[in-house]
């Protein structure tokens, strides 16, 4: 029989639609065992274990005994005012904070590209803006703690300028202070992403619209921002995810206080499970917190039309 030119064995059989002899190759499966083991051991098993625990009342410091309570822990979460107000705080902290970071970062990135003509100066400024991001969270938090005490450097400057000192760590302001510190440290991330997105837009698009007589504002609305939509959505998401699990600065700067003024869900969760040792309740709370995140992401993804 005449064969197809250039095809041999298996390929020829496939081309001619001949049935293949089934032969199971096991090597890939063997190779997958170590990573699979790790994933199951440190991610999937704890997740399932947390579901199991969440249906129990358990304080490991008192007894190893776990009492089955059904969905009671979940019901309690929705009645727990401390958790709900922590969620509201997070909404304020993340919503406002991340939005400001995004706006500021984008504005600085655009200004750098549009107004700083010298390549060298631009790089220098970019690095300068990135510096806070390169600092460890804990170090930044410690540094800011010293700056914002009632007689700290910032208040000293305010007094020197003839203004009233501000109670940065007061009940009313503490959460906003944390937000400001976070903005100071993390605006650099959306800035970097926005900068990369902006310089990848072909210059010919700008020149073409300039030839047609488009104003700067129109060019921003019709070219720059639509082009940067997806990278900016991703920047927003990254920062939102980070702020969702935000803990370090609360821990170091305010420890949730004064009172519960800076108690964000993660901090409350941490307290419940590892200070009060209400492990079952903590597990239920973290599952709900996680599900809220997934739902939130889903809607955000739909809204931002990231494809």
């Amino acid at each position: 029989m005449k064969g197809l030119p250039g095809l041999y064995g298996k390929e020829k059989d496939q081309m001619l639609g001949r049935a293949q002899k089934k032969r199971v190759v096991l090597t890939p499966y063997y190779l997958m065992i170590p990573p699979q083991f790790l994933i199951w051991a440190v991610v999937i098993f704890p997740l399932i274990w947390a579901v199991y625990i969440s249906f129990h009342d358990w304080n490991p410091t008192i007894s190893p005994e776990r009492t089955f309570v059904g969905i009671w822990n979940y019901v309690t979460v929705f009645r727990d005012e401390r958790f709900l107000s922590a969620l509201l705080r997070m909404l304020y902290y993340s919503g406002v904070g991340v939005t400001i970071q995004l706006f500021l970062g984008t504005a600085i990135a655009l200004a750098l590209v549009e107004y700083v003509r010298s390549e060298r100066l631009r790089t220098f400024l970019l690095v300068l803006f990135l510096l806070p991001m390169m600092m460890a969270e804990a170090v930044a938090a410690q540094m800011w703690t010293l700056l914002i005490t009632d007689t700290g450097t910032i208040n000293n400057i305010l007094v020197w300028l003839g203004l009233n000192p501000i109670g940065w760590r007061s009940r009313e302001l503490a959460l906003t202070t944390l937000m400001i510190v976070d903005i100071w440290q993390w605006t650099a991330l959306p800035l970097l992403i926005a900068y990369a997105a902006r310089i990848s837009i072909p210059e010919s698009l700008y020149e073409s619209s300039r030839l047609d007589g488009a104003s700067r504002w129109l060019i921003l609305r019709k070219i720059t921002l639509p082009y940067m939509r997806v990278p900016l959505a991703i920047a927003f998401l990254l920062r939102f995810m980070d702020s969702y699990k935000f803990l370090d600065k609360v821990f170091i700067m305010t420890y949730g206080g004064p009172g519960t003024a800076t108690e964000l869900p993660t901090f409350y969760l941490y307290q419940t499970a590892f200070s009060y040792f209400k492990v079952g309740y903590g597990a239920a709370m973290s599952w709900i917190f996680g599900i809220i995140a997934v739902i939130g992401m889903f809607f955000f993804w739909r809204l931002a039309k990231v494809q």
Binding site: S204, D212, K222, P226
Partner: protein
Amino acid sequence: MEEVRIRNVTKRFGKKVALQGVSAPIPKGSFFCILGEPGAGKTTLLRIIAGLEIPEEGEIFFGDQDVTLVPPQRRNVAFVFQDFALYPHMSVFENIASPLRLKGLSEEAIRKKVVEVASFLKIEKLLDRLPNFISGGERQRVAIARALVKEPTLCLFDEPLVNLDYKIREDMRAQFKLMQRELGQTIVFATPDPIDALSMADIVLVLHEGRVQQMANVWEAYKRPANVFVGKYLGFPEMNIFEGRVSRSGNSLFWESKGLRLDIGSFDFLKPYEGATVLLGLRPEDIRLGDTEGADFTFEANIVLSEVVGSDTIVHLSVEGVALRAFVPQIFRRPSGERIPIGFRHEDLYFFSSQTGKNLLLQEG
């Protein structure tokens, strides 16, 4: 009437001179082609005409008005970029409509104009699509539509055919020419491809390293190239160039190189070059293969290789060890080593100075 006049334009980027003393009139309604290698300064010249760059020296006139410092949006020019510069998030309709929206036309007027220009370019079926979902040739046409819909004084094209594949390029050449003829639009077209210039242009301006080599009617430039660069560049395949010496023998003048000896007694303008080295140019398409009747010079050549290009053939030949190429506008397969008579006429010969490269015929007087 002259639509645009470029006068003595010089442009530098840092230390690099992009254009040096470029002058050219661009007549109204002409297809004006700027031809040159990559880096010759074609794009820079287009950008200066559009107002996207300001020259260090010289002026640009639109009609009687000096527009050298007039910003691009007030020049009423359209620019078709090499990458087409279509807005990827806008539909084809919106892309074409964008210059009209900026003019503040009514929605109805915009729709009418867009549909009109789109059907002229046969892209009316694509109006709802996004630029990323249409082919390269179609994208090209959308970019042209966006340029034409403005009804500009001047349409500038920056190597628009370079990004297209061979077949579409051939098709687009004819379309460009027809479009220009139908609309009477003044077009300035930058290209590195001599075929573009030969097939479409009325006037060609040949640039080399930022300097004008020649500006003339395209056939004039082809028949009477100003120098050896234009001779070689404006033509496909490239002109054959041989170096040889002009010498007198008896009553007549001869041009001699190591395998060739031509009686050039009829070229009076070569008399002053007796004893000098002179470059001889011969276009591959002027060489007759096999049938040499009517030729003034005939030789026996060896076929080295028949290179079939599409439905044409470039025949690589050797005459007494001198390599030359001939062009045959059909498929012409011959075995290597075959001997074949070749011939050419007096008027097919070009002579260039070996020092300056200038065409000696044009230098006379």
